[in-house]
Point group: C2
Chain length 158, copies 2
DNA sequence: CGTGAAACCGGTTCAAA
DNA sequence: TTTGAACCGGTTTCACG
């Protein structure tokens, strides 16, 4: 153990497992066992525990949405029109399937939404739905291209 | 087939497969076969083809970074200090592991970065590295909480 | 929390249509 | 492109340390 800060051995292995599964979500328990030096069933147990604790929230396929018709991505920042009204935008917007993510943020606006739609027309319609559903004004930044996305942070040192 | 626009049967099945794997990246081929009405090996072939075509770019575990020490998320918008200089920010920034995504965008700024770090101090250091590596000014929006993320768009109608 | 063995189930390949 | 069969390898559970 030569790291500057203390970290228990089990945490170290769990981080390793998480990093490996972030890199390849379908890696087999057999391969995880080889990489971590544990037995297959020990790794199996740890992954189950990580899922139950919510450290691993699930597994997903990374999809190239350009190739399946959802080729317009945008960030939509929203701001309540009535600052006194209850701030329940996330719930009010949850039914809109085009919204991939919703982040509450510090700063001028209150939330940043990441949205994916088929076309500029679909974006226009979506923005109207967002404004009327949540009682907000919107500021939209259209994505032109994405050099990279979904890179997994380095967990070896924190 | 009662959809308004034409779509071939194979496309329909591929979309179904993609949607299912976006929902559960570890779903077995056996279950995919049941859901799609195909045989196991037919589904197997289709998934392989989707991976080769790049429609499925890979598989990953969805990680709760709060629980593993990367608890500060932020969006960093960047703008070149010299607008005449070559615009190679993505390559110049690629070595910074804390940058999870890089989007080229329309509007006031040229790129939006999504970053994850351990602490405010680490964010400060990262911003300095971004500015010096890419020759840009930065505008940072700190994420306070994330009501939802990684929701898969509805592929049934596009 | 770790292990190895046993039983089971899913992945992968193949020839055939 | 599809299928089913056959084989192989991974998953899962178990009793034990």
């Amino acid at each position: 153990m030569t790291s500057r800060r203390y970290r228990s051995h089990v945490e170290e292995i769990d981080r390793r497992i998480v990093a490996l599964l972030a890199q390849d979500g379908r890696m087999s328990f057999t391969d995880l066992a080889k990489e971590t030096g544990l037995s297959v069933s020990a790794v199996h147990q740890r992954v189950r525990r990580l899922e139950k604790r919510g450290v691993i929230r699930g597994f997903t396929a990374l999809v190239d949405y350009d190739q399946i018709g959802q080729s317009l991505t945008a960030f939509v920042s929203i701001k309540p029109i009535d600052p006194a009204a209850p701030d329940d935008a996330p719930v009010r917007l949850a039914h809109l399937k085009a919204i991939e993510a919703c982040h509450s943020v510090a700063g001028e606006e209150s939330y940043i939404l990441k949205v994916r739609v088929e076309s500029p027309l679909a974006l226009e319609e979506l923005l109207q739905q967002i404004r009327s559903s949540a009682g907000v004004s919107t500021r939209t930044t259209v994505v032109l291209s994405t050099p990279y996305e979904h890179r997994s942070p380095d967990l070896s040192e924190e």
